[in-house]
């Protein structure tokens, strides 16, 4: 499974791309497989304040709804509107077109709590198999 080296990860299966004081957030390839076909995404609004490890978005498949947590605290600056018309982008392109939201960091030290690709890979290996 593909976990790009340049990204950071959470144990709740979000990926984070750091670009200066802004970070882009999506879900990992592992997560999109577990969620299965995404049919709806509830996006956060720009200007909304979010807290690390607290819910920021909801991804819905046919049978379940999954909370997507903010990997770090900050203020939402953008959300991927393309997901409203085409939620399947999360399945087809989890690391690029399927990004979910972007936020402005309020506490850069929180980045230290995130996992590297290798650490995340190991965590996923240990996850119970269905």
């Amino acid at each position: 499974m593909n976990f790009p080296e340049n990204l950071r990860y959470t144990k709740t299966h979000e990926w984070i791309a750091v670009q200066g004081t802004k970070v882009k957030v999506g879900v990992t390839e592992y997560a999109q497989k577990e969620i299965s076909d995404v049919v709806f995404v509830e996006l956060p609004k720009a200007g909304q304040a979010v807290q690390q490890a607290k819910m920021a978005a909801v991804v819905e498949s046919v049978k379940a709804a999954f909370d997507i947590y903010a990997p770090v605290s900050g203020t939402i600056t953008d959300a991927n509107k393309a997901l409203e018309a085409n939620p399947g982008l999360i399945n087809h392109s989890p690391y690029a077109d399927g990004w979910i939201f972007e936020l402005e960091l309020s506490n850069p030290s929180e980045l230290n709590s995130l996992m590297t690709a290798a650490q995340y890979h190991e965590a996923v290996q240990q996850a119970p198999k269905h």
Binding site: V39, F40, E42, E60, S61, K63
Partner: protein
């Protein structure tokens, strides 16, 4: 249902598991005086004696079949075709109750789907749920949707919305940070436009109107949805669904949610329930709909099939983050409404609505001609209207009840300032002779 026995051994095992020695120890926190109180009950009766007793009690009621009833105020007497009752009584529907294993309950799901389709047509909106318990809870659920969707803390509600609905809404919101603010109605019974506009501020999540309102008047809602939407709020309308056969639909008024009481659609008055809450909204709010939704789909072989859909909204999946705690619906009552609407058809519903309008207007004009009574005349009515009496309504009621006429519902019960005013309802069940008899009796008061 099998009777589940509880042997001494089983009791012992269960008590042991909890960690107490005896049943008395289990309930030791309950004061001894409360444990086995003496309850004074009459001695037992045989089956025929019970039947006699119940029939005797039953005869104490005067049904609307035995009297001339002009009672409405949220529960209406209508003619229900025998064919509708026959459909509802079929055991495939009557005993199936609820689709616990939905995909195996195709007939029930199809009936719900058809009910939903009919409701969207009647209200002029996009998506209907499978129904709620009654109009009051349905409207309260609509209020919750507005609060959550807009993330604002306040509801603005017309005081001419059914008093019981407003009370239920307050109960729903008790203990939450949400607030309900009301705007009043004018002397003529219509909502106070100035007060509505003045109270429509940035904290308002949704505005709730009833039309025809509780006083029976069809509200003029021209320009109202534009004002509400410009403010970023939702518009919620509650209407007698049968009135929509004649008057503008919630969709045409620009409402975001239509929620209310479905009893007029083929359910008898039944002492106040079970009734049917309808809830219909726009596609934009589809994922916030409370409760159950039936959908049309295809099975693995590509054949038409019905399913429960958009379930990720619901409590059994979203848990505490679900928008509503409602997981069930009033399936049999929705089926009754479905059968009623289908039997009447588009033309029939329009005709029934017209007859209601005609009877109520005939009666209103007649009462307007009596010297001790006044009626509202500023706005159109559907099948109900307000009468202002110059004499004590309690006395009038007493006098007419003695002649087996129920003259109407006292408004003072709900609005203390509306002393000696009452609500009169005349549906298609009343003939011209019935109406004339009522007017004559009132003339003697």
């Amino acid at each position: 249902m099998p009777y589940l026995s509880l042997t001494e051994e089983e009791k012992k095992a269960m008590l042991g598991e909890i960690g107490v020695r005896s049943f008395d120890e289990l309930i030791k926190d309950i004061p001894v005086s409360l444990r086995d109180p003496k309850i004074s009950l009459p001695s037992s009766l045989s089956e025929p004696e019970v039947q006699d007793l119940i029939s005797k009690l039953g005869r104490k009621n005067t049904s609307t079949k035995d009297a001339l009833s002009f009672l409405g105020a949220g529960s209406y007497e209508h003619f229900i075709p025998a064919a509708a009752l026959e459909i509802v009584g079929r055991q495939e529907f009557l005993t199936a109750y609820t689709p616990y294993q939905p995909e195996a309950s195709q007939g029930t799901l199809q009936a719900i789907y058809e009910y939903q389709s009919l409701m969207t047509e009647l209200t002029g909106l996009d998506v209907s749920n499978a129904s709620h318990y009654d109009g009051a809870t349905s409207l309260a659920e609509a209020a919750l949707v507005a609060l959550k969707h807009t993330d604002r803390p306040k509801l603005l509600v017309a005081r001419s919305v059914h008093p019981h609905y407003r009370e239920t809404m307050r109960t729903y919101l008790a203990g939450t940070p949400y607030k309900v603010e009301e705007f009043g109605f004018n002397e003529d019974g219509n909502f106070n436009r100035e007060e509505f506009v003045a109270k429509l501020d940035a904290t308002v999540a949704g505005v709730i109107f009833q039309t025809p309102n509780f006083l029976g008047l069809v509200e003029d809602l021209e320009g109202v949805s534009e004002k509400i939407h410009a403010n970023g709020s939702l518009m919620i309308l509650t209407s007698d669904p049968l009135s929509l056969g004649l008057f503008k639909s919630p969709g045409e008024w620009g409402a975001d949610i239509a929620a209310g009481e479905g009893q007029p659609l083929g359910l008898s008055m039944m002492f106040g329930g079970p009734y049917l809450g309808y809830f219909v909204t726009t596609q934009a709010l589809m994922r916030r709909i409370p409760g159950r939704l039936a959908g049309l789909t295809q099975d693995a072989d590509g054949k038409r099939a019905f399913c429960l859909t958009l379930q990720a909204r619901e409590q059994h999946i979203r848990r505490e983050r679900a928008g509503s705690n409602i997981c069930s619906n009033q399936a049999l009552c929705a089926l009754a409404a479905c059968a009623y609407m289908t039997l009447l058809g588009k033309k029939g519903i329009h005709e029934i609505a017209e007859i209601n309008w005609d009877r109520a207007n005939y009666l209103r004009n007649k009462i307007a001609g009596l010297k001790n009574f006044e009626v509202d005349t500023m706005q159109p009515i559907f099948n109900e209207f307000r009468v202002k009496s110059k004499k004590s309504f309690a006395k009038i009621e007493e006098k007419l009840m003695a002649q087996d006429i129920f003259p109407g519902v006292a408004l003072e019960t709900f609005y203390p300032e509306l002393k000696d005013q009452f609500l009169v309802c005349a549906t298609e069940t009343k003939s011209k002779e019935d109406l004339d008899r009522f007017v004559e009796a009132l003339a003697q008061c």
